[in-house]
Amino acid sequence: MSFSDKACVTGIGETIYMRGSIKTAFELQLESSLKAIADAGITPKEIDGVIPIGIVGGTADDFIDNFGIPDLRFSALIPHGGASPAMALQAAASAIAAGVCKHVLITFGRNVTAAFNKAGARIHNMPQFHFVTEFEYPMGAIAPAQLYAPMARRHMELYGTTIEHFGEVAVACREHALLNGNAVMKKPITLEDHRNSRMIADPFRLLDCSLESDGGAAIVVSAAPQAADLRHKRVFISGAAAGHPDSPGSITQRPDMTSLGIAKAAPRAFAMSGFTHTDIQVAEIYDCFTYAVIRQLEDMGFCEKGEGGPFVEGGRLRLGGALPTNTHGGLLSQAHVWGLNHIVELVRQLRGDAGRAQVVNAKVGLVTGYGDQGDGALAIMRGE
């Protein structure tokens, strides 16, 4: 049994994305959740499944309490960082297809303004980073930028990927962020701005790195028959899959440092969906770093391994290009909410509600997640 097309995203919600929010992660999560539930056209009490993303917001029990949910039938916690939202689509669709529940809330909030929550301080308390914490952190390999940089460096050395290729990704995301009113970054950038931005962890410059921002985002995934009666045109989850790289807990020890978990997941998701790469009209690709987009394009089979750099040249990822990508600005230029904003944006595109960033006639699109040290997931969705 496949869950293909048995579940739909029916509701989307986002807070304002900003820096310096005075709200807690859970407050931001509740705000976006209520918006998503209202967008679906159901009441909070109708939610019968919840997947809170991350561990800094509310628990499943907190949602029962705050929404007065009478009968929560399904909950899950997915411990894979930024891959968790896309993995949650797989979990929600599986549970719905099996008849376990009808309306699953997937929700995330974060406030990284607090000093204890900065990038360099965060990951060392997470169990999945214990190798890094014990063997790498004390020597100065602290933040994700430093952990991922050797992957990017090796890719550059082996395949000739360049700074300009990274810049193409950064510029495309920024151009798209300027088209919506809810992006943290508000000024255009050029390839030259990218190249001249301050070096953080060579080869990553400041404009290769995703934002630190506060906000919440949520979606409701509903059973397809119930979804037919709700407010919006249905957006079907046609295929979804998760995958993990070898040595998921340590990039240092990974046999092939230039391969991610999504390489294993992509063939499964495409096969389930019945779509091929040429059917994908819009892509929302997890962009913790510019390089991660290039790498995932290769791992998903949009181009050969090593060809991701040339693939993104010439504006291919920009609106009007062959594969418009991160039409909301992504983590690089809209906000970092672990990629739930990527799912929200794909749903907007497939409903035809993406405003100035709308890809004309978008019917089929793809969203990915990338978590921790290379866990991956993707979902292929179609509009009605």
Partner: protein, 134 residues
């Protein structure tokens, strides 16, 4: 003002032998007590035969560069005075990898032969690598 210390982490019981050897300047690796497969970083089971029987064996410290990064931003105040510093990922001759600090003016490149050793500081111990002519 007191010197800002680098992060200190508690070592797990499982990896305690690694750090005890490191304090004596020896780089050691877990070796499966049943099938002999080497592994790093330390973990409970051999992923080949599932045995939890472990022997610690000394590594040569020899290897070559797999990749690297140069830190230009201090994500922890204890590293601000060290900027820029280079971290190298090393393919050890024993078939596992190690991360270490680069102690050379030679630009790193993939495949460059290196030799590593431990360097102690007030607040910890670092694995450092230098070019090595075979």
């Amino acid at each position: 003002m007191d010197k800002i210390l680098k992060p200190k982490v508690e070592h797990s019981e499982m990896s305690r032998p690694f750090w005890e050897a490191a304090a004596k300047g020896r780089l050691t690796l877990q070796c499966c007590g049943e099938c002999g497969k080497k592994r790093h970083y330390p973990q409970l089971l051999c992923s080949h035969c599932y045995s939890d029987n472990v022997e610690w064996k000394e590594a040569s410290g020899h290897g070559d560069i797999h990749s690297w990064t140069v830190a230009h931003h201090a994500f922890h105040p204890g590293f601000a005075a060290d900027l820029p510093y280079t971290l190298v990922t090393i393919d050890l001759d024993e078939g596992v990898r190690a991360l270490g600090l680069w102690r050379s003016d030679v630009a790193p490149r993939i495949g460059l032969p290196v030799h590593g050793q431990f360097e102690t500081r007030d607040d910890g111990i670092d694995l450092v690598f230098r070019p090595f002519s075979k």
